[in-house]
């Protein structure tokens, strides 16, 4: 190797080392120059539970978004012969041969009885003071396997409300139906209904939070900025609203919704009702922050530097407590979810034909129905999962937003 070449290699090495050092320096610089949000995101990423919660919530919202595609059946699909069927058993091999995932046709059939037997049973039910229900048997036809197919055509819907489609992720050949989570008392697929119900249950709290966010920010800042009698009046109103138990108030408000209005309007009204009460906490926080920040040195400094009021509010004050607000909002979502679920459960919220998790839980209204069809509690699992995930996420965000941690 010539001297010259040697020198070139050395130069290259030196250059590479320099670049490496530069990169490391940039990385470090990035750390020190990271914005408040980047720092928060980094801290949040380190919070294990919050991370898991974020993934779970992301998954749930994804499912809700593409619910019509993922759910094998539509809200209105029902089957009189499938009332209260337990979750379908998925088999893989038939007659010792592997055929892939399939089910057997399962139906409810009325037990055949003689006229005498029937009248005796009717009489017995009458004596017990119960209504006569003809006894049924669950009959499984194990002769023909019905394969589960991917991407089948079924009920039509609109993807994201725009494109018409009738493709579903999976379905069964023939006229039989697969009930992954069992069927409800009207023979509707619980799995599909949970997915489609999540479109309501997961978005109402979000929309409600947005409304209460705007209301809280607006009213809170007016109260904190103007002070005086305006502040006094707003504070009294907040105190009054806080002194009323939220659920009874929600009930009273939703009792005012006229029966039989279209689902979209009902959805909007329920959202507004939920957010009408929950803005108060946020308004208080905003007001308190405004009051304390008003006297903060850096605000005073900006004022002395001749920055306009509006700019001080938007550039200096709001970013100062924005993270705090978002944490507050996240922690407020669970109570909205529970509120919507409770009201729908009572029949005061979302009503058929629309559905939500609360509506689905109506099936679990008494002990005997749970004892007979325990799968009607599956929606509960999703409610609890979502509420927990929002709680953990909010907790993680609170820690991340705390600059002293």
């Amino acid at each position: 190797m010539s001297e010259h070449e040697n020198q070139a290699v050395l130069d290259k090495k030196a250059l590479r080392a320099q670049k490496k050092a530069e990169k490391a320096r940039k990385k470090e610089e990035k750390y020190y120059l990271a914005s408040q949000w980047q720092l928060m995101a980094r801290k949040l990423g380190r919070h294990k539970l919050a991370r898991i919660s974020l993934v779970i919530l992301g998954f749930l919202y994804f499912v809700a978004l593409f619910g019509d595609f993922l759910a094998p059946y539509s809200l209105t699909d029902y089957d009189a012969n499938s009332k209260d069927l337990p979750p379908s058993a998925i088999h893989f091999s038939h007659d010792g041969k592997y055929v892939g995932p399939f089910i057997y046709r399962t139906e409810k059939q009325t037990v055949k009885m003689s006229v005498a037997e029937k009248s005796a049973a009717q009489r017995a039910a009458k004596e017990r003071g119960e209504q006569y229900v003809p006894p049924t048997n669950i009959v499984t036809d194990e002769t023909t396997p019905l394969r589960i197919r991917w991407f089948v055509h079924g009920a039509s819907y609109k993807i994201l409300g725009i494109f018409e489609s009738d493709l579903h992720l999976f379905g069964v050949e023939g006229s039989a139906k697969v009930f992954l989570f069992g069927a409800d008392s009207m023979g509707r697929d619980l799995f599909s209904r949970i997915i489609l119900g999540s479109q309501v249950s997961l978005t109402i709290p979000f929309a409600g939070t947005m409304i209460s966010f705007v209301l809280g920010l607006l009213i809170g800042s007016v109260s904190g900025y103007f002070g005086g009698w305006i502040d006094n009046v707003i504070q009294r109103i907040i105190e009054v609203l806080n002194s009323l138990p939220s659920l009874p108030l929600w009930m009273a408000l939703s009792a005012a919704i006229p029966a039989g209005i279209p689902p979209v309007q009902m959805y909007l009204l329920i959202t507004v009702i939920l957010s009408l009460i929950s803005w108060t906490g946020l308004a208080r926080v905003v007001r308190g922050k405004f009051m304390s920040l008003k006297n903060e040195d850096y605000v005073m400094a900006a004022k002395l530097a001749g920055v306009s009021d509006m700019k001080i509010i938007l550039k200096h004050m709001v970013p100062g407590f924005m993270s705090y607000l978002i944490v507050n909002l996240t922690l407020g979502i669970p109570s909205m979810i529970i509120g919507e679920t409770s009201m729908s459960f009572l029949g005061l919220g979302i009503q058929a034909p629309a559905t939500s998790w609360g509506v689905l839980l109506k099936e679990a209204q008494d002990v005997s129905s749970i004892a007979m069809h325990p799968w009607c509690l599956i929606p509960l699992f999703f409610v609890v999962l979502t509420v927990l995930a929002f709680n953990f996420l909010g907790d993680g965000m609170r820690d991340a937003a705390d600059p002293y941690k």
Partner: protein, 340 residues
């Protein structure tokens, strides 16, 4: 101190007045009123309607006048005659209608509140003092779950559980014998309190209604205690040679109780939320189911009065917590207001 209490009591009155206005506005929102639909129903069935009685009711409550006139009449009757209106559904004055369920509602609420604090505070302290111990993790986990399960489903799950374990279904607060006694007036509500079986039946409702609030108290108590334990005065007390026990109970607990006490009205409203829906699900003879019926039937005075009573009790709770807070925290006593 006396002046402080007086000041708080005086702010109590305007709040109650605004509250009654808000409530009345909400309950008259549904279009139409009970009497009109009731009369229409009767006429459709071909029954004779006593017009003069209807007219006197209409006149008395101003039912054919604008809502704020109705509101003033309602308030006027309440203030001057303690007349909360007439329940069309139960066909009796509102006050005597709710009198059959109100005392028991208050009893259940108070006991639940006791349960809330007696369970939430000690566990919160334990969790904070033994932070990151196995016990702390367990309680934190239970706390989260307890807050995440909706009251009414918890009720159903518990009822189902007791049905499976004991073989008897849970049905209401009273045995049938007591229920009959209460309905016929041979028994008064306070006599029920002396019965052992009543308290046994109370366990499930209290757990159901109180769990989410208790978990909330537990979590806030833990957070507050941790906050206080990290303060400098704790270090200073340690440097004086004060024992850990005394530091926890003399210094930290008293400071940490502060937000817990100021959250008293929140706990109370939480209990009302819980008791409303759980009572409907579990068929308890409390005001919750009555409110539900009243709202469904547009029985506005009954619904309004129930809301008003709940609001009144919560405001009363706020007042109590303010006074308690002033006793606990010298800073509030002197400055005369809540430290937010």
């Amino acid at each position: 101190m006396g002046q402080y209490i007086l000041k708080r009591v005086l702010t109590f009155i305007p709040i109650l007045l605004i509250m009654s206005l808000v409530i009345f506005f909400i309950i008259q929102l549904p279009p139409g009123d009970y009497l009109t639909s009731y009369v229409a129903g009767l006429k459709a069935e071909g029954q004779i309607v006593d017009e003069s009685e209807l007219d006197s009711l209409k006149e008395r409550y101003g039912l054919d006048q604008p809502w704020f006139t109705q509101y003033f009449k309602w308030m006027w009757n309440i203030i001057t005659r303690f007349d909360f209106g007439y329940s069309f559904k139960f066909e009796a004055p509102v006050w005597s209608t709710i009198a059959s369920v109100l005392p028991m509602t208050i009893v259940v609420s108070l006991v639940t509140m006791l349960f809330n604090y007696l369970v939430g505070i000690p566990i919160g302290i334990y969790s904070a003092v033994h932070q990151y111990s196995i016990g702390d993790y367990c309680f934190t986990f239970i706390g989260f779950i307890g807050m995440a399960i909706p009251n009414f489903l918890f009720a159903i799950l518990l009822m189902y559980g007791t049905y499976i374990w004991t073989g008897t279904a849970f049905i209401g607060l009273y045995t049938s014998e007591v229920l009959v006694g209460l309905q016929q007036g041979t028994m008064q509500w306070w006599e029920v309190l002396g019965r052992g079986d009543f308290w046994g039946r109370m366990a499930i409702p209290i757990i159901v209604i109180g769990t989410s609030g208790t978990c909330g108290t537990l979590r806030s108590m833990r957070a507050q205690m941790l906050d206080e334990l990290g303060r400098n005065y704790v270090l200073c007390a340690r440097a004086k040679g004060v024992s850990e026990r005394r530091i926890v109970y003399k210094y930290c607990l008293r400071a940490a109780l502060n937000p817990t006490v100021s959250g008293l009205s929140g706990v109370l409203s939480h209990i009302f939320n819980g008791s409303t829906i759980s009572a409907i699900v579990m068929n308890l003879q409390l005001v919750g189911p009555m409110l539900y019926e009243a709202l469904k039937a547009q029985d506005m005075y009954l619904a309004g009065t129930i809301l008003l009573v709940m609001g009144f009790l919560i405001v009363l709770g706020t007042l109590l917590s303010d006074i308690l807070l002033a006793c606990l925290d010298p800073r509030i006593r002197f400055s005369g207001r809540r430290a937010e």
